[in-house]
C-alpha cells in the first residue's frame, strides 16, 4: 500500500474536475441513496468534498473515504441533473481506479474479475455447471416471475428472490451468426452481454427474431467477453482494458452498420466508457471509436433507424416501463422503449417515478443489499400501483432486481424486456 501522500498526489489528477462542483447541493434532490439515509456522505456533493479533502491532505482516513465512495449506485442521476455540469461518473470511476490502485483489489473480486471474466470459456463452463446443480440449492418461489430463493442458509444469496441461471445459455442456443442484410439493407453486430447470455437467453432470441423480421443481417461472433462495467466500477482498469481489447478484436472483424445490444449497461459502457476509459493498446483506439459511434440500444435502433411506430389500437396486455439509469441518465433514451411497447400493441401505463433507479447498481446489490432492497422496494410499489400486468424494462440487470422485489411482495405480474413484448407481437 502506497503512503497517503502518494494517494493525495494521485487524486490531484481529479482536481480540475472536482473544482467544478459549486456545492449547491442540488444532487440531494435526486440521489436514491441520500433519499434513504439523509447523510451528506451518501450524496455526490459530500463524496466530491471527501475526494477533495483527501487530495488536499485535509483528511487522514482513506479507508473511510473509500467506504463512502462505494456507497453509490453509479446511476448517474446526479450528473444528469447537476447545474454545474460536473462529470460525476467520470470522477467516480477514476477515483475508484485510484483507490483500487492504493488498496488493491479484494481477493474475491480478484478471483472473479481476473480469474473468470478474463477467461470467458472458464466463466461459461462454470456457470453451465452452476445451471445444472443450482436446483439442489434453490427452490422455486414464483412461476410467473420465474424467481427462486435459497433452499438453505446461504449468506451470498441472503433472502433474495432471483432468476436462476438458464438451463441452456444463449450461446448454446445460437453459438454465432453471420447473415447478409435482408429487406432493410442493413446489417448489425449483436453484442449479447453476460446477463442475457446466462440468465435471460429468451431476450437474445427475441432480438434475433425481431432483426430477422425486419430483414436486418446479423454479425454475432462467438467468444464475446463481458463489456467491462463490473470491473471498471470496482476500479480494476487493467481487467477492463483486457475485456475491451478481447471484444474489439472480434467485433472489428465484421462489417455492419450498427452495433446493437439489449442491455442498457452494455450499451452505455460500449458507447461512453470504452472510448473514454480504455488505456490499453492504442492500436485499438480507432476501432473503439468506430464501435462506440455505431452502438445503439435495440429499441433505439428499431424506432430511430427502422422507424417502427406505435400501433393505433392498443388493447393488449397492460404494460408499465422502468427507465434503466444507463439508458435514461447516460444516453438520454426514454421515448424509444415506450414507443416499442406501444408498437407491440400493449396498453401502456406510465408509473410514478419511472426514471428513478431500481437500486440494483450491479455489484452494489451484493455489497449493500439492504440499501439496494429498500430502493428497489419503492420501485416495486410504484410498479404495482401502475396496475399494469407486465413490468417492462431495457436492462437485464434491472430485470433481476425488479423480479426480486416484485417476487418478495408476491406481486401478480411478470417482468419482461421490451424487446420480448415486441417479438411476441410479430
Amino acid at each position: 500500500m502506497a503512503d497517503i501522500h502518494k494517494l493525495a498526489q494521485m487524486l490531484k489528477e481529479l482536481d480540475d474536475q472536482l473544482v467544478g462542483c459549486m456545492r449547491c447541493g442540488m444532487c440531494q434532490a435526486v440521489c436514491p441513496i441520500f433519499k434513504l439515509s439523509g447523510k451528506e456522505t451518501d450524496v455526490t456533493r459530500g463524496k466530491l468534498a471527501l475526494l477533495d479533502g483527501l487530495a488536499s491532505e485535509m483528511l487522514t482516513d482513506p479507508e473511510g473515504v473509500n467506504e463512502k465512495l462505494n456507497r453509490c449506485l453509479l446511476c448517474g442521476t446526479c450528473q444528469a441533473n447537476c447545474p454545474s455540469g460536473v462529470s460525476v461518473m467520470d470522477i467516480f470511476l477514476k477515483a475508484r481506479a485510484i483507490m483500487t490502485g492504493y488498496f488493491g483489489l479484494s481477493p474475491a473480486k480478484k478471483a472473479i474479475f481476473r480469474g473468470l471474466l478474463k477467461n470467458p470459456k472458464l466463466f461459461n463452463a462454470l456457470t453451465e455447471m452452476g445451471a445444472k446443480f443450482q436446483g439442489i440449492f434453490t427452490k422455486k418461489v414464483d412461476d410467473m416471475l420465474g424467481s427462486s430463493c435459497a433452499r438453505f442458509n446461504a449468506p451470498i444469496i441472503a433472502d433474495r428472490h432471483f432468476n436462476t441461471l438458464a438451463s441452456k445459455p444463449f450461446r448454446k442456443i445460437v453459438p454465432e451468426m453471420d447473415t447478409p442484410a435482408g429487406s432493410s439493407g442493413l446489417r448489425v453486430a449483436f453484442y449479447v452481454g453476460c446477463v442475457i447470455d446466462k440468465i435471460y437467453p429468451q431476450v437474445g432470441e427475441a432480438i434475433l427474431k425481431v432483426l430477422k423480421h425486419h430483414g436486418v443481417g446479423v454479425y454475432m461472433p462467438s467468444g464475446q467477453a463481458c463489456c467491462g462495467i463490473p470491473v471498471l466500477s470496482s476500479g480494476d482498469t487493467s481487467t477492463f482494458d483486457t475485456l475491451v481489447g478481447m471484444n474489439v478484436d472480434i467485433l472489428k472483424e465484421g462489417e455492419f452498420d450498427y452495433l446493437v445490444t439489449g442491455c442498457a449497461s452494455c450499451t452505455s459502457t460500449i458507447k461512453e466508457l470504452w472510448p473514454h476509459m480504455y488505456k490499453g493498446d492504442s492500436s485499438r483506439t480507432y476501432d473503439i471509436g468506430v464501435l462506440a459511434r455505431k452502438t445503439m440500444d435495440i429499441s433505439q435502433f428499431l424506432v430511430d433507424v427502422l422507424k417502427v411506430e406505435p400501433k393505433e389500437l392498443a388493447g393488449g396486455r397492460s404494460v408499465t416501463y422502468h427507465d434503466p439509469c444507463h439508458l435514461k441518465n447516460s444516453l438520454g433514451i426514454t421515448a424509444q422503449p415506450r414507443t416499442l411497447i406501444k408498437a407491440a400493441g400493449c396498453d401502456f401505463k406510465e408509473m410514478t417515478d419511472a426514471g428513478t433507479c431500481c437500486g440494483c447498481g450491479g455489484s452494489f446489490n451484493i455489497a449493500h443489499y439492504e440499501l439496494s432492497r429498500e430502493i428497489g422496494s419503492r420501485k416495486a410499489d410504484n410498479i404495482i400501483a401502475s396496475k399494469a400486468k407486465v413490468a417492462a424494462t431495457s436492462c437485464p440487470a434491472c430485470m433481476l432486481q425488479i423480479t426480486d422485489m416484485l417476487s418478495q411482495k408476491g406481486a401478480d405480474m411478470s417482468v419482461r424486456h421490451v424487446i420480448e413484448l415486441y417479438a411476441d407481437s410479430l
Binding site: E40, A49, G53, V65, K68
Partner: protein, 461 residues
Amino acid sequence: MTKEAIIKEFETIAGAENVMTGETDRHAYSYDAAVLDSVMPALVVRPRTSEVLGAVTKLCNDNGLPLTVRGAGTNLSGGTIPHPGGVVVLTNGLNRILEINEADMYAVVEPGVVTAQFAAEVAKRGLFYPPDPGSQAVSTLGGNVAENAGGLRGLKYGVTKDYVMGMDFWDVNGELVKTGSRTVKCVTGYNLAGLMVASEGTLGVFDKIILKLVPPAQAAKSMMAVFPSMKAASETVASIIANKIVPATLEMMDNFTIRTVENFRGAGLPVDAAALLLIEVDGHPGQVADEAAVVERICKENGATELHVAKDAAERDAVWQARRDALPALANLKPTCVLEDATVPRSKIPAMIEALEEIAKKLDLTIGTFGHAGDGNLHPTILTDKRNKEEWERVEKGIDMIFDKALSMGGTLSGEHGIGLAKSKYLAQETSKATLAYARRMKSVLDPKGILNPDKIVGAE
C-alpha cells in the same frame, strides 16, 4: 466532561446511530454552498424528535459547545458552516408535515421539511405556498425561515417572512418558547417569530413552524420581451408597476447571461438582445387577460423589439426554463461561481447594472447579471477560479465594490441569501454601529455563552 463523555451523552440522548464523529462524516458537514473555507465540526447529531432537539440544544449550552443548525446546507452566505470544534445539528430527521389546515389555510411543519415537497403537498389540497427559493427542490423550511428566503415570486407574493404566522423554538436552556398563532391576527407578546425570521440560527433552534397558505391563482400568462438596452428594460419594469400592475414574476437577464444560456440550451434566445424581461401575470382569468394586454402595450411603448406571449403550458414552461437555466449555464463556464444578491430599490436597477458593468471592466472580471428585476434583487454572478490567487483578490475587491454601490443607492447587502459569515463585516455599513451593538447586546442575553451559530450576522466581537 471529556470529549468521550460528551459523545456518550449525545448518544444517550439522540441514539448512537444519530451521532456522527468519524472524520469523513464531519468533513461532509464542514461546508455549505458559499464560496468560503470549510470548517470541521467536532460532532454531527441528527435528532429525530422535538424532545431530542431540545435536549441536544441544552447539552450544547451546558458544555459551552458552539451549535450550528443545518438543513440541506444550501446556504450561500456561510450560515451553515460550523464553528471550529462545534456541533452540527441536522434537521433532516425532523421532516414531518404535522398539519395542513384547509379551512383556516395554514400548515404546521417541522424545520426539516423540504420546501418543494411541502409546496406540492399544499398544492394537492388546492392551496398555495408561494415562496420559491431557487434551491427549493432540496432546501428546508427551517432554513428558509432562518434566512428569510425569497424567490421568483417575491414581487407580488412576498418572501418567507410574509408566511410565518408563528413558531415554537428551543432556547439555549432547552426550554420551549412559543410565539405567534394559528390565527391571522395575533398580538400576544413580543413578535418573537418575526425576530427569529432571518436570525440564521443565532437566537434559537426552530422546533415547529406555522406557515400561512393562500388560494392559488386561477390563471396565469407568461411572456418574454426583448430589449435593445438595459435602460429600456428597466424603464419597462418601472412603468409596469407605475401602471398599478404587480406581476407574479418579473425577471431580467443581461446580454452576457442571455448568450450563456443560449450556448447552454440552444432554445433560440435572441443573443443580440441587450436585455430580456420574463414576465408572468396571474390571478382571475379576466384580470390576467387585462393585465397581460397592458404589460404588452407598455413593453412596446418602451421599445421592446420582440414580444413572445406563451400560448400554452409548454410555451410557458419554455419561458421559465430560460430563467432556470441562468445559474447552471453561468456555473458551467468557470470552476468557481460567486452568486451575490445585492439588492437596490427598483428605480435604481439601471444605475446598478451600469455600475456592475464598470466594476467588471475595471477589475477585469466576468460578471453575468440576472435576477428579480421586479423587486430590485439582482444576482450579479462573478465567474472565476478560486485557485487563481491573483484573480481571487480582484473578485474579493469586486464584491466589496458591489456592496458599496448597492448601499450608496439605498439598497441592501442581501435580498435573500443572508449575511452569514460572508457579509457580517459589512453589517454596520448598512445599518449603524448602534444597530450592531444593540443586536450583540440582545444576543448576549439570549445566548450568554455564545453557542448559537457563533460569528454569523453580528460577527465576532
